[in-house]
Symmetry: C2
């Protein structure tokens, strides 16, 4: 029986420095490392998840209407445990700890994701808007009641016509001097609010984003608190429609909203960044309208941090099931003629699952960094303009990477469980359907990566980071391009990088050093900066040739996205390397280094064509990397069960009785 050992007759594992000794994984210690400073919070959520484990089945058995009610009930009951209000000030019943609130949200993603998203809508989006965009009067009026879930609200930003380009929303809020009210109006078919969570059934108020018009002047998008429902019925002038059945998340009541001259008092404007005086004067401390808009949006960065973390944790559930299944399932005789082979002993199966496992670890630590930065910025510990912009970029990148990772990982794990993976009881049905929209909501991933690239190209300059891509192209092609080009000049990159290589500049091409994190990081840094310089040069060349900036952008767009990806992958690897380096010597460090090496080399392997095209890999070394990835997979094989156990996914959240547990008694 080779359930947890290397396959028979395998040669002794190789290792750069002599004999490799297989580490023992101390699962509780590794879980403690992953849980980090918020272990207590995470355990509270684990315990809540256990208490409401029946929701996973209820998602399948209840009618849509009943399931929505059940999800609301669970959210309110969880709120009573303090779990969902950790990010709000203590004077309103919150926990006053933003980092804790992110940790709680991430952990909730082990369970039913309608519950998660309902929590996100109510406390993150709705509550977050009141907290971040409102002032004391709004806090006093709403926070205490929304923290308990007594007051349910929604976040009405997206419209049918505008999801990504929210600066172009069509809803209008006109200030009526005579009555000192704002009049909210849905101006066109495309301007109806759409996909709004909590809108179809439960929200009594909405934070509505609309173009503010004061005295005939448009002041751009602002947010207003608008009552939409009273006693279960829509308020006068408000029309509500259900978005109907969705691919997943059907415990969340998404809907559409139309406003027909709906009047709200002047104080309904969430006025932290701008206000309208009773006499109809528009006032804001931020003069530039673009900057004002992006400042408002920036306060909502927590949502992206949370969704990214949720994607990463949903991936852990899938990996735990697929790995445990592969440690029980046998198929085909291979190394023995008498017994079929464990499917995790097949090289291809290891290649399918282990790089995703390593990426999940890497993303976990990258998420830890972004959550901690968020905490510091929003707790006022480090809150300057540049840090904020960097945080926004990091949050955007981690969200995009983490949610695409979830889509890919859950799919691979489903396929790795064969037909059994297709049965709803085995979790992948919900995981796939519910997480699918993660790549879209809280910012479409491609648009987010453009945001990342814009930050890099403009060095997070507060004067320029608020440009749309039309503006960005013109800007980058103009004066500042020289800076980017200077920063990313290849000879300088090489100069800076060769110091960290084992053999200096020649180190690029030695067989040794593949497992040196400095080498791995140097590769990703070189790629990132080189790509960025390429984008700047291409933009400049297009503009210099007299092409329309939009056409230039369209042609360079895949390079823009590529540069952003390269940047995010570098940040993720850095986070993992930093974490592993800080560990004391010992088995845990050995195990994490295996994962970190696998993550790094699989990342390089996936883009080895680029590295060869740019002279950073010979074909020999490229092949050596592929061999090393396979070798690392074999080393991880005996640790795999422990590595997924350390995620600390509660057993009840795995369900899958026949995949991860004993087969039930059969009485034919």
């Amino acid at each position: 029986m080779a359930t947890d050992t290397a396959p028979p007759q395998a040669p002794a594992p190789e290792g750069a420095e002599g004999v490799y000794v297989q580490p023992e994984v101390d699962v509780p210690a590794l879980q403690a490392l992953l849980d980090g400073r918020y272990a207590e919070v995470r355990n509270l959520v684990r315990s809540n998840l256990d208490d409401y484990a029946s929701v996973l089945e209820e998602a399948e058995t209840l009618s849509r209407a009943d399931f929505r009610e059940r999800v609301k009930e669970i959210v309110v009951e969880m709120a009573a445990t303090g779990q969902t209000g950790m990010g709000f000030p203590q004077e309103y019943g919150g926990g006053g700890d933003i980092g804790a609130s992110v940790a709680a949200f991430e952990t909730l993603a082990f369970g039913d994701l309608s519950v998660l998203v309902k929590v996100g809508v109510q406390f993150g989006l709705f509550g977050g808007a009141i907290l971040q965009l409102g002032t004391k009067a709004h806090h006093d009026a709403y926070l205490a009641r929304l923290v308990t879930g007594e007051l349910m609200g929604c976040f009405a930003m997206t419209e049918s016509g505008h999801g990504s380009n929210v600066q172009a929303l069509g809803t209008v809020a006109t200030y009526d001097l005579a009555t000192q009210e704002f009049v909210i109006t849905t101006t066109t078919d495309e301007a109806r609010k759409d996909y709004i969570g909590n809108a179809a059934e439960h929200a009594d108020v909405a934070v509505v984003f609309a173009q503010l018009e004061v005295g005939g002047t448009s002041e751009g998008v602002h947010a207003f608190v608008v009552p939409i429902r009273e006693g279960g019925a829509a308020c006068p002038g408000v029309r509500i429609e259900d978005d109907g059945l969705k691919m997943g998340l059907n415990g969340v009541d998404n809907g559409r909203l139309w406003f027909d001259q709906v009047r709200v008092p002047r104080t309904a404007l969430l006025n932290r960044f701008a206000d309208v005086t009773p006499s109809g004067v528009y006032e804001s401390e931020i003069e530039n309208p673009n900057k004002r808009f992006f400042t408002m949006l920036g306060t909502l960065v927590q949502g992206r941090v949370c969704v990214g973390g949720a994607g990463i944790n949903a991936s852990k559930v899938a990996l735990a099931i697929a790995t445990k299944y592969a440690l029980r399932r046998r198929q085909f005789e291979a190394s023995s003629e008498d017994e079929e082979e464990l499917i995790l002993d097949y090289g291809m199966h290891q290649r399918r699952l282990f790089p995703l496992l390593a990426d999940t670890y890497a993303l976990h630590f990258a998420q830890e960094v972004v959550a901690s930065r968020l905490h510091d910025v929003f707790s006022g510990i480090t809150d300057d303009e540049h840090t904020r912009r960097e945080l926004e970029s990091r949050a955007a990148g981690t969200k995009a990477y983490g949610t695409w990772h979830a889509t890919r990982t859950i799919q691979e794990c489903r396929e790795a469980c064969g037909g059994a993976g297709y049965l709803a009881i085995n979790r992948f049905t919900a995981l796939k359907a519910d997480t699918d929209v993660f790549t879209t909501f809280e910012g479409d991933n491609h648009v987010l990566l453009q945001l990342v690239a814009k930050g890099l190209l403009t060095d997070y300059s507060s004067d320029f980071s608020d440009l749309d891509q039309f503006g960005m192209v013109k800007f980058v092609a103009g004066l500042a391009v020289e800076t980017v080009l200077e920063r990313t000049a290849v000879h300088k990159l090489l100069e800076r990088i060769k110091d960290v290589l084992p053999g200096g500049d020649d180190g690029w091409d030695q067989e040794a050093g593949l497992l040196d994190p400095d080498y791995q990081l140097a590769m990703l840094r070189f790629r990132e900066e080189h790509m960025l310089g390429g984008v700047a040069r291409r933009l400049k060349r297009g503009i210099d040739q007299g092409m329309n900036p939009g056409v230039v952008f369209s042609r360079v767009q895949d390079h823009v996205i590529g540069a952003a990806r390269a940047h995010v992958e570098r940040l993720v690897l850095e986070a993992f390397v930093d974490k592993a380096r800080d560990l004391p010597e010992g088995d845990l460090k050995v195990a994490l280094n295996l994962l970190c090496d696998l993550h790094a080399l699989a990342t390089i392997e996936a883009d080895r064509a680029w590295f060869m095209e740019h002279g950073r890999l010979t074909s020999q070394r490229s092949k050596a990397i592929s061999r090393e990835v396979s070798s690392l997979c074999r080393k991880i094989r005996p640790l795999a069960g422990d590595l997924v156990d350390a995620f600390g996914v509660p057993d009840a959240m795995l369900r899958s009785p026949e995949l991860v547990g004993p087969v039930g008694p059969v009485t034919p």
Copy 2:
């Protein structure tokens, strides 16, 4: 308004040979080309799909029980139009045309996929087993009634413990000489039949695969007709359990079956390839038990051909919706400050959709080839051992490629439609959930690719192709390895290939010729044979070093899969090139050549690392290929709407009223 023209200020499109003239696509002519010889059959199915278009909504509104009944009803009513029985002999009410039956099935995949899979279970798997494994007595007893759907059956092969390795099934059928009956028994928990379509509700009989035991000797897996239900209740000794909710295809009643000493007459054995005499003598014209087993399995190849085609056609639905949406949806100002840009004018969006569009065309023609080979073999037109083996391999490869393509394409199209893509009315919900298991059923894709590789390594030798991988490793490492190595020797490959290159051997590295199909094919052929040789060498080396064959196989497995992929990609490109070459000069040929070039170069681009590693691409030429892919995308941009219209997906099957049709009237 640039809905269907190139973006403003784009420079004149480039072209290797002077000025490129944009073709006009004659949509009916292109559809006729795609529909091929079975246009009439496809139109019958299109018309049936229209008649039952309400099923797409019923899948969402009916209870699971009601939906199952509705799907059954539709299947029976469609059967009455002749649509589903085209592959059966005319004397039993069929159409006597296997090619027509595949065309009908493929086309049905434009609609609800529970209907499709129910048709596949009843007429393909159950009906196919009676037809192919049974003899006249079975045909007379069952065919006429099953063709009308009066007799519903199921195909009980898979067990909980064995899906891929069906030679190791646990169900046993023991011949009882005294009563001249077979006794069918589920021997262990793992031996219960599982995931069996039609079993939970509708099937009255099952074709049960079991280990035949005669006089104490095991004769391997054989198929038996076993009544399982009478008047709606399970027959004595048969236990039936519902598989419960699945990710998709919930109109199909999948279930589990246990047999407790269930007795069936001697004539229940489907005895085309083997029989048991009344006195208990086992007889078969095929002496080798392995060969007998694979001969039986081989008759079921039609299922794989059908599933591959279904995956390809489901991809067309997704691409049609996403492309039409991208021709209406605008977001962000880019080339104009006054109007937002059509999302299909973004280079990244083209890069996301058009290579998938080109692959879909390529796969369509590859599917046409495999369906036509199937027709010829099973109509007795070309039916020798080697042709059959080649067909089985081609079917396995096309199924794997076509179904993975569906998973990937539907996912990308969903994301390309943003949040709207998440609403069930917009089709992706069903497309994703229903097609997900295509990569698993009718053969797990990875296992199928191993089958393909095995065929290549053994040159479809009938003496060896029935080996399991344990046997294969030993075989390949033995005498025959020399043949493979000789066939794939690099110097010979180069010799054979350089003749077709524009500049002889130097042609590998000229900038010109990227759009030469001979160059493209030479690249894919070189890769395939080189990879195959690599696998053979690696297997031999491992065995020579004294390693366990299973361990050797595990280590080489990703190369095995890689070689099979390379083979399939070559077959697909060949099919496309052949089709395009045969066209008369004209706009249709120009348009198809654009797609064929895009398919070929995107395929090479995706694996350009391999080509660089093996000296077949310089970094300069590799980059040139990427530029050419982008350039081809821009040329396809103005044709995109026509290219998806030519798929001939009935409008009602697209649903998605707000994505592909006008936005409905809004009365705020």
